[in-house]
């Protein structure tokens, strides 16, 4: 422990006193005309800027911050970010000349913070390495490069058919209780050892749900590279509104800076960040509440006209930077909750059109036991294909089409039973491939194991296995390979593609495993 001496106290005091600023500055001051519903209307502040941080001096000199939103002819409409109860009419407000900033840095890893970056997990203060503005211009075309690195979620159905690249914006959409958050959490857990920093932004959720989530991540050792930004349902609408932007700002710090905290460049690579916004429908609702109380004119579904702009400027911040700019990335996984599968509602259509693809989760599949309940027919990834590992491309290339034709045939065969051999075979294969895509929670699979699982299905090794045994077969096969043929997995991991040699060794290994597995139930 460091010894505290009179000299060290003296030095500390001197340093603090030197930091004192005794200059008197001229400031612009306004007066609160009206306050209520988390909104304040201010007289004066003619030079206030849209989105500027305002400082309210409330009862007993208490400082509360607000955001300037409506700049009108005679007054300014602002939303309050802190304790609204201390603000009264006639209180003074002044402009600060800056916008809301959040602290960021490695000190935030493993912590749970509110949208202002203040810790709420009781683990003490956070030492910030820097501050980032919550609203920040997205990089332009020249500063970017196309998505070219995979962001593995560890989920077979997604990594094979809806691959996500680092820097992509992939929407997770579905009704309530269809496993949207589960996908996000699995994706975070799978980032262990992948040099990825994860930011999970919880918007409008129950505080207990967030606490459970933190516990789950801690249990799986994922909190050490994760930051949780929490704006729960009990937080004010403005806090829920800025939460995703605060999450993006915290993430941007890592992307724009290298490991050493210095700006990223060709010699100092930026970090890779995964940002999950769970969920943007609740952010839109909070923004609607704010806008209506600010008396902005309502539009479709009573949302304000600029709700598209709100989401597009947030998601445009997802980026894969060019190598000259450090090559860092910010992958965005926004979540949208639909009502009774209605994707044509305002917010879902907006976010679908902004993102580079969507993972669509369906209630029916969920209750049929197909989990994750991804509807591969309408889920797409528009840019992830170019970032997919070659081995996966080789085996999963036709998987989506095969499954689509299986679904079509399956619907057809419900009306009759006389089927030719080829159709029966296609149905049997389809059923096994569908079963193969089932996966439990918190058990992400490395990409080479995913590729092998699909390889086994695609090359007919599962055709003689009972449908009920497919997932067991997959698990035991991978265990067997890990134990007895680790070389195949290692070669596939390094080569990243199926070579003739790997294929022949793999075929032999699977055949060998199947002979031992067959006794538990083989189709005659």
């Amino acid at each position: 422990m460091t010894e505290i001496t009179a000299q060290s106290i003296d030095e500390a005091l001197r340093a603090q006193l030197e930091a004192l600023d005794t200059n008197v500055e001229s400031r612009e001051v306004g007066t609160v005309i009206q306050v209520g519903d988390g909104i304040a209307r201010i007289d004066g502040l003619k030079d206030a800027m849209a989105g500027e941080l305002l400082e309210f001096t409330g009862e007993g000199g208490k400082i509360v911050y607000g955001l300037a939103q409506n700049l009108e002819e005679d007054e300014v409409g602002a939303v309050l970010l802190g304790d609204v109860t201390v603000i009264r009419e006639n209180d003074q407000v002044h402009t600060t000349g800056r916008i809301v900033e959040v602290p960021s840095g490695r000190g935030m890893l493993g912590r749970v913070v509110n949208p202002l970056g203040q810790p709420i997990d009781g683990k003490g203060p956070i030492e910030a390495e820097g501050y980032r503005p919550v609203e920040f211009r997205a990089p332009g075309v020249i500063e970017r490069q196309p998505v070219n690195e995979p962001m593995q979620t560890g989920i077979l159905a997604i990594d094979s058919m809806i691959p996500i690249g680092r820097g992509q914006r992939e929407l997770i959409i579905g009704d309530r209780q269809t496993g949207k958050t589960a996908i996000a959490i699995d994706a975070i857990i799978n980032q262990k050892g992948q040099d990825m920093i994860c930011i999970y932004v919880a918007i409008g959720q129950k505080a207990s749900t967030v606490a459970n989530l933190v516990e789950t991540l801690e249990k799986h050792g994922a909190m050490e590279y994760t930051i949780i930004v929490s704006a729960t349902a009990s937080d004010s609408a403005p806090l829920q509104y800025i939460a995703p932007m605060a999450g993006a700002a915290i993430g941007e710090y890592f992307m724009y800076n290298g490991e050493d905290g210095q700006p990223a460049n060709a010699n100092n690579p930026g970090r890779h960040v995964l940002c999950i916004y769970d969920d943007l429908s609740k952010q839109a609702v909070a923004y609607r509440q704010m806008s209506l109380t600010l008396r902005r004119p309502p539009g479709r579904e009573a949302y304000p006209g600029d709700v598209f702009y709100l989401h597009s400027r947030l998601l445009e911040r997802a980026v894969k930077m060019s190598d000259e700019n450090g090559g860092g990335s910010l992958t965005a996984l926004p979540v949208i909750e639909t009502q009774a599968g209605d994707v044509s509602a305002y917010i879902p259509t907006n976010v679908i059109s902004i993102t580079d693809g969507q993972i669509f989760l369906v209630t029916d599949l969920f209750f049929q036991g197909q989990r994750p309940a991804v509807d591969v027919g309408i889920s797409v990834s528009r840019v992830g294909g170019s970032a997919q590992v070659k081995a996966m491309k080789q085996v999963a290339g036709s998987l989506r089409l095969d499954l689509a034709s299986y679904r079509e045939l399956q619907a057809f065969t419900q009306f009759g039973s006389d089927l030719d051999k080829a159709t029966q075979q296609q149905l049997a294969r389809g059923a096994r491939m569908t079963e193969l895509l089932k996966q439990g929670r918190y058990v992400p699979m490395p990409v080479e194991e995913q590729a092998i699982a699909i390889y086994a299905g695609g090359h007919g090794f599962l055709d003689s296995i009972e449908v009920e045994d497919v997932t067991r077969f997959r698990g035991e096969l991978l265990d067997y390979l890990r134990g007895s043929h680790a070389g195949i997995l290692e070669d596939l991991r390094t080569e990243k593609k199926f070579t003739e040699d790997i294929e022949s060794r793999l075929d032999a290994a699977i055949e060998q495993f199947k002979q031992n597995f067959a006794s538990s139930g083989i189709v005659e």
């Binding site: 600023d21 008197v24 400031r27 001051v29 609160v32 007289d43 000199g61």
Partner: protein, 187 residues
Amino acid sequence: MPANRYHAKAEVDIYAKTLLEQLNAKGGIDAVMEARSQMEQIVAYNRSHIELNRAASDATMAPEKRASLVKGVFSNTSEELSSVLGVMAQRGGLDILPRVLAAYNDLIKNQLGVTVVDVVTRVPLDDHLRDLIKNKAKNELGGDVVLREQIDTNMLGGIIMSAGSRRIDASMNTMLEGVRTTLKKTS
């Protein structure tokens, strides 16, 4: 208040101009400044007490009755101000009073060439300090400067000056608050 904002602005300007011209003709700059203070107090009071505003714009009450009610309430203000307030109540309410005050302030500056500087101190200003502040403000803001002095016993010392929406806070309270924040921040 008229729905058309240009009409509303014209109405506000008429109230402000009428009041200023009448008061200036009657009592000069002192009367003008007195009415300004009274209007500020009324605006501040109305913001935190909505009842009078409601009564003054109550459509179920006859316009004449609204006017007499408002005149009665503000009978201790100058005759010109209470008349203007009465007309406002008769024509719809006191909602536009803050805008009238803003227009009135603009007229004081543009028409009379006077800048009003509010000065808040712990102890009364002496002549030397008064001249010093006046000269400084005149150099910075131009035109004639009228100081409006206020004593605030909650202040520890120093001075707070404001002109329009600009404010210079050199009070001891704020300085000490700055010290407190700095000492809290530096580790």
